[in-house]
């Protein structure tokens, strides 16, 4: 699989002055380890001026990863992964909601498996050595070609390639979100009970179907979107209602540039009140922008700076085919 991927990358990537094939190979290893490396450890998560600690255990077996994260601070919650299934557990509704927020980004998973598209929108820089959680590691930087997007820095363990520290920075260099292991062992705990949930209330996060809906669906869709920044591809498009009783149907499209996940919601909206774009921070690196356009209300949500989302939404043109 890795050789194949390397072959694809070699065929697809133009010669980059800054990143060698080795570096991309390393990134692939880092991505794989982030998702599969068995471990037991504790990490910190910082965002919005808040610091939280999580304990994580993970055991991997032939493509069937089982892991459990428990929040040690703040509202009690845990997140359990069982292969493709991801479930949040908490003792009450409020904590359950907090659990869902925590599971937006599941460090040390840093990005999607398929990194071949990342090179379109990001340059990869291999940087200096460092020491995190008493282990030697190497910094990597994913710098967006588009200066409107976040910069990602990852410090990965030299031996296993596991991400030990990850930082999300604005173009100006401000850190908006950060994860760091404070201690980690590269083997799962012996005690199987450590993988079991302790809380009663649960909510299963959606499992993305293995075959995502492809362009054919987009082609048949009545909604046409133009003006997305270069590098973003449509990866999902569904008709849905938003949660909450009486939610009206919206068209939900998901775009990705390999690193960023961006949702675009299109709803029918006759009112001309919200014709100006305005943005808001939702949560850490994730922001939102809304704008009315003709008979549509557009909303974008994703891990891009707020000001960038506002500019982005202004440049979108959405039309309905009759």
């Amino acid at each position: 699989m890795r050789t194949f991927l390397l072959g694809v990358m070699l065929a697809v990537l133009p010669l980059l002055a800054l990143a060698s094939e080795e570096d991309w190979q390393w990134l692939q290893r880092v991505t794989d380890a982030g998702r599969q490396q068995p471990l037991s450890g504790t990490y910190l998560h910082q965002m919005n001026g808040v610091l939280e600690t999580f304990h994580i255990v993970r055991s991997g077996g032939a493509g069937m990863v089982i892991e459990r994260r428990v929040a040690l601070d703040g509202l009690p919650r845990e997140i359990i992964r069982n292969g493709d299934a991801l479930t949040c557990y908490a003792p009450n509704q409020k904590s359950l909601m907090a659990a869902k927020i925590s599971s937006m980004r599941l460090f040390p998973v840093v990005m999607s498996d398929d990194i071949s598209d990342v090179s379109r929108s990001y340059t990869l820089l291999r940087q200096e050595r460092d020491r995190v959680a008493q282990r030697d590691c190497n910094w990597l930087e994913l710098k967006p070609r588009d200066p409107q997007r976040y910069i990602e820095r990852i410090c990965a363990d030299l031996g296993t390639a596991l991400p030990l520290k990850m930082m999300t920075l604005t173009p100006r260099g401000d850190v908006v979100e950060q994860y760091t292991f404070t201690e980690v062992e590269f083997s799962p705990p012996r005690d199987k009970n450590q993988f079991k949930p302790q809380f009663k209330l649960s909510s299963q996060l959606r499992n993305v179907a293995q075959e995502t809906v492809l362009a054919a669906e987009a082609a048949e869709s009545r909604i046409e979107v133009s003006g997305m920044p270069v590098g973003f591809r449509l990866i999902r498009s569904v008709q849905r209602s938003l949660s909450g009783a009486g939610g009206k149907p919206v068209h939900h499209m998901v775009y990705s540039d390999g690193l960023v996940m961006l949702s675009l919601f299109v709803e029918p909206e006759a009112s001309s009140d919200a014709q100006e774009a305005h943005g808001m921070n939702l949560h850490g690196a994730i922001n939102m922008a809304t704008m009315g356009q003709g008979e549509h209300l557009l909303t974008v949500v994703g891990d891009m700076p707020e000001s960038s989302l506002v500019l982005l939404i202004r440049s979108l043109r959405v039309t309905s085919r009759p």
Binding site: D113, D117, R206, A215, I235, R240, S241, S263, L297
Partner: protein
């Protein structure tokens, strides 16, 4: 009408008649009950089923909150477009409450993160931001497992 439910399940109706009966069952609870009970009878006679199980209500409730799936080649007109006005406020827990907790638990350690408090929204947002966040999360969380296939036909 009931008799057509019986005929439908035996595959004895031709396509357009079958379509009509399916629609009737979908909209008439007593016909839906007949559909279930007739199948139950067959299952019992063949003794190849667990009889004391009924997950219909549970599945129906779960499906109600699922995004409607659409398969590529069979896309038709959107079904059941709701003409209601602005959305109701979403989850029982608002972001404000959760973030208040967030802000309250700042540790004593020096935080390197640029403080970025939530700004009050200057203009009314059409729908509760919570709802968009949850929807976004549903389709993008755990992105490591998204197997993405791109095709040339995508417009940007």
């Amino acid at each position: 009408m009931k008799q057509t439910v019986s005929e439908l399940m035996d595959g004895e109706l031709e396509q357009s008649a079958a379509a009509r009966v399916i629609s009737a069952i979908e909209t008439d609870p007593s016909l839906m009950r007949d559909w279930n009970d007739y199948h139950l009878i067959g299952d019992a006679m063949r003794a190849g089923a667990k009889m004391n199980i009924d997950v219909r209500a549970g599945v129906h409730a779960r499906l109600d909150i699922e995004p409607t799936v659409l398969a590529p080649l069979r896309w038709h007109q959107r079904v059941g477009l709701c003409k209601a006005g602005a959305m109701a406020v979403a989850a029982s827990v608002s972001f404000a409450a959760v973030l208040a907790w967030h802000q309250a638990s700042v540790g004593s350690r020096t935080v390197m993160v640029a403080a970025h408090p939530v700004r009050p929204v200057s203009r009314p947002v059409q729908s509760d931001p919570d709802a968009y966040f949850l929807a976004h999360q549903e389709l993008t969380a755990d992105q490591g497992l998204v197997k993405v296939t791109y095709s040339q036909g995508v417009r940007h």
